[in-house]
Symmetry: C2
Subunit: 230 residues, 2 copies
């Protein structure tokens, strides 16, 4: 298998590019995306741009009402709590299940090694391997629905992350150590303990996000900063 080729449609390609631009922070919360703008900037027809936008709306990354311009969703503290609670629901059950068969997924081990390796560099770099750690745990149970649901949450989590410029809030070493401990608990068959530690792990991250969002910027900060360049 020599690097599986994938012919993505134009709609998918544009959606993917917009998504990565949202995750990179280039398109911040509240940023508006009109169909014509997207169409002209990618040099495609408006229906194509429209379809891309609707794809991201379905993913929960964009928000829009009928006859209104789409905009990058603005997540408030309440949304963060919802998202992290949903994560905890899914992931703690997954940990219990993995512990029952003492199945430590290799991909998760590798992801955590990657986190340990990058202790220098930009703080944003920890996001990708961190997400990969958690998703590989989820994927390990081989339940397509659960993986799909978790992935939609991951998208929103990343949206939270870019809202917080000051990502030095995240203690890379602590994250890595807790991941390691979770893996060890799975291997020891102690599912309940693993789930409990995960709850702490996610709970701490959530509270830091909420505190940072509440203290530094309200949910409408993105829209406000959008007014300046005009």
């Amino acid at each position: 298998m020599a690097g599986r080729i994938t012919a993505v449609s134009i709609v998918d390609a544009i959606a993917a590019d917009l998504r990565s631009r949202i995750f990179s922070g280039e398109l911040g919360s509240g940023h508006t995306l009109t169909e014509t703008d997207v169409a002209s900037s990618y040099e495609v027809a408006r229906p194509t741009a429209k379809a891309s936008i609707e794809k991201l709306v379905a993913e929960g990354l964009l928000d829009r009402g009928t006859h209104k311009t789409a905009r990058v969703v603005e997540l408030g503290p309440d949304s963060v709590r919802d998202i992290y609670l949903a994560r905890a629901y899914l992931e703690s059950e997954v940990l219990r299940r993995l512990a029952r068969t003492r199945d430590v997924p290799e991909a998760a081990v590798q992801a955590n090694r990657d986190i340990a390796a990058l202790q220098t560099g930009a703080p944003l770099d920890v996001i990708e391997p961190d997400m990969r750690f958690h998703t590989s745990l989820i994927d390990a149970v081989g339940n397509e629905r659960i993986s799909r649901m978790y992935r939609s949450l991951v998208g929103e989590v990343r949206l939270c992350m870019v809202r917080i410029q000051s990502l030095h809030l995240l203690d890379t070493a602590l994250i890595q150590a807790e991941h390691q401990k979770i893996l060890e608990l799975i291997e020891a068959g102690r599912g309940d303990a693993a789930a409990e530690l995960l709850d702490e792990h996610l709970g701490r991250a959530r509270e830091r996000l909420v505190a940072a969002m509440g203290g530094i910027a309200g949910p409408e900060a993105g829209a406000r900063s959008e007014l300046l360049p005009e």
Copy 2:
């Protein structure tokens, strides 16, 4: 609030109609839906029909690859296990949470009353209040993400149901009694017991579905019956 007015777009209206036709069994598993067919039968333009189809694909009710006609998804025993496991993950955590505050949602009580009331009539009639019972429990925690995820599962559950013509497999009285017991356990604050009973409740339903699907018809039965009218 006098009956909130909602102006649905044509795309949404068609998607809703197709969805109900799928749930009613009129469009069985494997049934093909070409864009032109949908467009002409609803007398709309093809792009409109296309958008409706893509909406249902995103919901997981239809399945299609690039350049291939959409068809109603065919769920095998493995999918049923995945779906019911995912349901159990979400719902058991929700029960624990509701029990913590001893919060018995009125909507769930009403739904179970409705089940008790219809002990006569067609076996399909139990599906709607049964689903309503479970979704009102989920909605009671007020977490938009979890509600959204559960709703996508409910769609697939209903898809399972219509595959099983012989719904007399379902014992209405038993369902109603177990629901009642779950509500009582929530009120008593015994979350773990409620979650355990729910696991049994869902597990039994799942095993009956799997047995019925495996014994009566394989995953490709829908496609086979599709050949006959030709």
